[in-house]
Symmetry: C2
Subunit: 210 residues, 2 copies
């Protein structure tokens, strides 16, 4: 209602601060581990405001989660992959997915938390369902164009491919701590990250190339 003038009282700004703080806390400690008081303090708001705007801790988590998903889906659309040749489009998607996880580490922990709770907090979101459908269609279109021009082989399921593209980046990053201990290497050095990305691009290319 009012973003034109700076106000000492600004509902939208307060909401936004609460959401940002909640995102950070939920990502850091999970839904169960995050504390409402801590979120309120970090947001420079009062706990009462959280309940006023979002109803409950779980509802707040739900909003945070939906926003996080809509954000990555929106960023994917911005790539305009249908303007690129199939090979470049797919490689761009792999690079983007990897970089998005790196730039937005909260995303991964939020998704983990959502799945620990059996996806319960995402069930109602039609906005997300629509965005996801468009995303799958985008990848399907890339695959189709690649098959048509002879660079991709026939019969690759876009959903399975999507899952794999996410998986090979996501797993590496979410399990970097235990992975670092098990494999006795630092997963997060620049060379290690670069090597992993190259490996992942190679994996996806070998999977789809004719």
């Amino acid at each position: 209602m009012a973003e034109t003038k700076p106000r000492t009282r600004d509902a939208d700004a307060t909401k936004a601060r609460i959401l940002a703080a909640a995102k950070s806390e939920f990502a850091r400690l999970g839904l169960g581990g995050a504390r409402v008081d801590e979120i309120a303090e970090k947001a420079q708001a009062n706990k009462r405001m959280i309940y006023h705007y979002f109803g409950s801790k779980e509802d707040l988590f739900q909003v945070v989660l939906e926003e996080a998903y809509l954000d990555i889906r929106s960023a994917e659309q911005d790539l305009e992959l249908d303007h690129l040749p199939p090979r470049e489009a797919l490689e761009t998607l792999v690079r983007f997915t990897w970089q998005y996880y790196l730039d937005n580490p909260e995303f991964i922990t939020l998704v983990n938390s959502a799945n620990l709770h059996r996806g319960r907090h995402l069930e109602g979101s039609d906005r997300l369902r629509t965005a996801s459908r468009r995303f799958v269609n985008m990848v399907r279109a890339i695959l189709d164009r690649g098959v048509e021009s002879g660079v991709f082989r026939v019969g690759v399921d876009p959903v399975q491919l999507n899952i794999t593209i996410a998986a090979i980046g996501y797993y590496y990053l979410t399990n970097r701590y235990t992975g670092g201990i098990l494999f006795e290497r630092d997963f997060m050095t620049q060379p290690a990250l670069k090597e992993r990305l190259a490996f992942n691009i190679d994996t996806v290319m070998r999977l789809v190339l004719a």
Copy 2:
């Protein structure tokens, strides 16, 4: 000290019941979400016993986690993959990893919880480091044999390959709830599971074959 005679008081059995209950609860709700009282009740033990045997909630989590990792590493060794031709050995590993995740769903959530806490609970475990080293060597040996016999290409890093084999199964299963909503399909039907396993075997084979 006494496993020969059945006792009304059996420290080992009590410990084992506590560990089993803890594994189940930690897997279900995470380290933060699990309740010590609930674990005690499920174990048909007293909360006091948990602190007597394990010291603290975090120490208990640490033991549960280490046991879970040692269990999968031990099962991998039982496969005796060095007795199989390289191709079969690798495919067996991919199938085994997938089936292990399916049969032991707690493993995945425990690992997620461990990583949410930055791997802190695994840091001290030399037993696990040793087991992991042996595991990597096993995969390296398979790759080397495959290269030697000409079926595998040169230069595939066994650690990257391991991570990818785990990733493509792990991600699918850990994110099956949000995935089911996003992609509008049930990830856990028999046909869906079969299709995913086939896709994963294909992915790995295309990655290593000469």
